[in-house]
């Protein structure tokens, strides 16, 4: 197992270096430069443009800029935002818990609903439940997030008045961030009603963010289950007279879970993409919206370091997924 973990970790190094190049290069390939965007309609004289570019270090060759970026990175310096002038790492750490809280809630929601639905649809293959749930999954998978989010807001917050429109907690509660996770902070704040308010603010955005992963997980679980249930060992188990519940719970589900775990792991990337829109709709102060704003302003340091941090997180999650395989299936460890 130790060798397995080490080999996975070693593989991370070239991946990480590759990501630094992509993160650095990506925002610079886009046309338009931050100095011009800052000046806007007013324009900027060539002298001032050169002066500002030099001050920001953009006048040097790209290769040099890249190695400086890398050099600072190894010293833990991710640079300062061109817009707010604040350290990128600090901003990331302020905003990241909000995204994690939302993402975790969404992925748990998607898994808790998606897996049972998929299993049940596979067992009752061809039934009305199978057909309805798989059609719903197809619709969910193709849902335009922005439209879906607004629709839910208008219906549940506007018409029914059940949930708040946006934000993380009612504005009447005010306590300093201690962990950045609103559910934890509101509990420890000791303010009456704060936790309930935080939960009610989390419902709609996590439903919106969970929609696509839920659909994918349900469909993946169904097809994995169907495949496994045709295997010889399942037939053998049945022939032994094992009860249906045990056949499915122990023999089929455990084997079917391998591709499902992969899918859940891969959904982390999908969640990040969904978070960008979900955070914008629900005024959720997370890193998705932060990245979009920075890209549109060509805030190079934020985009390159932010991408790197996000990619780092996704890599970490994928590593955990790989390690989980090892636990579920010893054959993977050996190979």
């Amino acid at each position: 197992m130790v060798r397995f973990i080490l080999s996975k970790l070693l593989f991370l190094i070239p991946t990480f270096l590759g990501i630094t190049i992509i993160a650095f290069g990506f925002v610079r390939i886009l046309p338009g430069d931050p100095v011009l965007l800052m000046a806007g309609e007013r324009g900027v004289s060539p002298e001032r443009h050169a002066e500002l570019s030099a001050q920001l270090g953009f006048d040097r060759p790209l290769v040099m800029q890249y190695f400086e970026f890398l050099g600072r990175l190894f010293h833990g310096d991710l640079g300062n935002s061109l817009v707010t002038k604040k350290p990128v790492l600090g901003e990331f750490l302020t905003l990241f818990p909000a995204t994690v809280e939302l993402g975790l809630f969404a992925i748990v929601l998607a898994t808790l609903i998606g897996v049972p639905v998929g299993v049940f649809a596979a067992i009752k293959r061809g039934s009305w439940f199978d057909q309805v749930s798989m059609t719903a999954a197809l619709v969910g998978f193709s849902m335009p997030i922005f439209w879906w989010g607004l629709l839910l807001i208008i219906f549940f917050s506007g018409i029914l008045g059940w949930t708040p429109v946006s934000g993380r907690i009612s504005l009447m509660y005010y306590f300093p961030d201690s962990t950045g996770f609103m559910l934890i902070d509101s509990l420890t704040s000791g303010q009456k009603g704060a936790f309930t308010s935080a939960v009610s603010h989390l419902i709609l955005p996590s439903v919106v963010l969970a929609t696509i992963p839920l659909a994918v997980i349900a469909r993946q679980t169904r097809s994995a289950m169907l495949e496994v249930m045709g295997e010889d060992y399942v037939r053998t188990a049945r022939a032994k007279g094992m009860p249906q519940r045990r056949v499915i719970g122990v023999h089929a589900l455990r084997n079917a879970m391998i591709p499902v775990v992969t899918t859940i792991g891969l959904q982390i990337g999908v969640l990040m993409a969904g978070a960008i829109l979900t955070e914008t709709i629900f005024s959720w102060p997370g890193i998705g919206k932060w990245m979009i704003d920075s890209i549109s302003r060509r805030d190079y340091p934020v985009v390159q370091s932010g991408l790197l941090l996000i990619a780092g997180m996704v890599m970490l999650v994928n590593l955990l997924v790989d390690l989980t395989y090892g636990l579920i299936n010893p054959r993977i460890r050996a190979s």
Binding site: G32, P46, K85, K86, S170, L171, M172
Partner: protein, 535 residues
């Protein structure tokens, strides 16, 4: 589900009860659009940043009178201008208290040292505060040409400061009423420097304004409290909260749900539903802006004013105002909006007359003309949909035999490419005023100086007579005289037609019926010291 909805109702009931308890302390919630870049107004240029920093927290020597672009006394009670218009002596208000916070309690009132510090940190590259955050620049100070304008700032005594200018400049008093010229505390800066926490000038602001800063949760909420020692009329609300809500449809939902009291920038498509809602009020006024199509006046045949005029007559302005602005705009005949002083209402707009246009083009020997129309890739208050505008223009021009091709670029590239000399095509763009002075439109967008490198004159139009008039107006301090000069300049503009002027869009501010006392600013600022909330 039943339990679920009941518990949510219980939550809302609790919220209502607490809201009732909180009603004694009046809390006003503004659903703002963008996150502030920081709380020191000098390094930034975005209006949303100033609404969160300069307006609630700080004051300036001069201020814009509420709801107008007129300049009135602020931290300077009065001022004298020398005969030649190059020396401004400001007499400062006494007894103005600075805010305090956990790290700072002021030991003295506002005085001349604060004024000098506030300007010198921007002008003097050797000032230790010039680069108090790595990479900080003072773009507004630079772009308002302050470095070349201000020769020196002297302290005469604790409550008298003299600015000496290199040349007379009538808009100077309006310039220093702008957000970038907000006065910050020298004593606070010294305290921060001693503690090695300079960046807190930008994070934990101390000002003299109507509200004191409490806290900012990035991209979510900004909290302020009424300044009990405010030198002006005290605010009527106790707490001011900015709930940052980037999407306009969501802002409207929040307003309707009572989660905030006032919102900026509603979507044009929502205006009708806002009007129909009994719980909401909609304030409106013409914006201090202009949308235009700038010809390249250096390239044939667009160097011929008659050709430009003929093209202007080919385009149906009213149709654009209806289709693109959905009627929420006034057709523009001048380069400055009607809310600005010196607007020349006597000017007749070129009529929409395709027949006459065709005849004029033939007269000038222009046949089979092909041209490009540049459509901006972004939405702006002065131009809600540039692509659609360009399409309507294309259609109109085809009726007079002009073949127009629409082009577009990424925004940053659009801004730079459209300034390249010899540019092929006419450019759609616009402008929103900074300080309400006509010079801020005319000189910035149409003078010979701005037709060069890095200027904003995208027609590359350099008319000696026009530029001379602007120069004359700049060195005249009498507003009646300046008005006469600018009126004449607008005649020259109309006659020469470097632009097709499109529209001045209307600004809308939806708010709850409970709100009273909100004053719309022609400059597009959102300020809350005059607002009140009904119980």
């Amino acid at each position: 589900m039943k339990y679920f909805s009941r518990s949510l109702i219980a939550v809302s009931a609790v919220a209502l009860m607490s809201a009732a308890a909180a009603a004694e302390a009046k809390t006003f919630v503004y659903c703002s659009e963008a996150s502030p870049e920081g709380f020191d107004p000098a390094p930034y240029t975005a209006g949303g940043t100033f609404d969160a920093s300069a307006h609630p927290i700080y004051n300036r020597l001069t201020e814009f009178k509420k709801g107008t672009t007129e300049v009135e006394p602020g931290l300077a009670e009065s001022w004298d201008v020398s005969e030649d218009g190059t020396e401004y002596t400001f007499h400062l208000r006494e007894g103005v208290k600075w805010h305090s916070n956990e790290a700072f309690t002021p030991s003295r009132d506002f005085n001349a040292d604060d004024v000098i510090f506030s300007f010198e940190r921007q002008s003097d590259a050797d000032n230790p505060w010039h680069q108090y955050i790595p990479g900080v620049t003072y773009e507004y100070y630079t772009s308002m040409a302050m470095p070349s304008l201000v020769k020196s700032i002297e302290k005469i005594d604790d409550y008298t400061v003299k600015f000496t200018l290199n040349q007379p400049e009538a808009p100077f008093l309006a310039n220093i009423a702008m957000a970038f010229a907000s006065i910050v505390s020298k004593e606070y800066a010294d305290t921060l420097e001693a503690a090695g926490r300079q960046e807190d000038l930008n994070n934990m602001p101390i000002g003299t304004g109507p509200f004191t800063f409490l806290a900012y949760q990035k991209d979510a909420v900004i909290r302020y409290r009424k300044n009990p020692d405010y030198w002006g009329t005290a605010p009527k609300i106790d707490d001011l909260i900015f709930a940052i809500t980037p999407d306009s449809a969501v802002r409207l939902q929040k307003l309707k749900a009572g989660e905030c009291h006032l919102m900026p920038y509603p979507a044009p498509a929502d205006i009708e539903s806002i009007r129909a809602d009994d719980s909401l009020t909609l304030d409106e006024q013409p914006g201090l802006n202009v949308g235009y199509l700038a010809y390249n006046t250096t390239v044939a045949p667009f160097d011929n004013p008659k050709v430009r005029k003929a093209l202007n007559m080919a385009i149906n302005k009213e149709a654009i105002v209806q289709a693109v602005f959905q009627g929420a705009a006034e057709p523009a005949k001048n380069p400055i909006p009607p809310t600005m002083w010196s607007y020349n209402d006597a000017i007749q707009d070129d009529p929409y007359d395709p027949e006459a246009s065709k005849a004029m083009l033939e007269e000038e020997g222009v046949t089979d003309l092909s041209m490009k129309i540049w459509a901006m890739p972004v939405q702006r208050p002065y131009m809600p949909n540039a692509r659609r505008t360009a399409e309507l223009m294309q259609e109109d021009l085809s009726k007079v035999g002009v073949n127009a091709e629409i082009v577009s670029y990424e925004w940053g590239e659009y801004l730079s490419k459209s300034m390249e000399p010899g540019r092929d095509g006419a450019v759609l763009l616009g402008w929103t005023g900074d300080n309400g002075d006509p010079d801020n439109f005319l000189s910035v967008l149409l003078s010979c100086d701005s037709a060069g490198d890095g200027g904003a004159n995208r027609a590359f139009w350099c008319n000696e007579e026009f530029s001379q008039l602007l120069q004359d107006a700049k060195v005249t301090s009498d507003q009646a005289e300046r008005t006469a000069i600018y009126e004449q300049a607008q005649e020259v503009f109309k006659d020469q037609a470097p632009w097709f002027t499109i529209a001045h869009s209307t600004q809308y501010v939806p708010m709850s019926n409970k709100v009273s006392g909100f004053v719309m600013s022609p400059l597009g600022d959102f300020t809350f010291e005059t607002v009140d909330l009904a119980e």
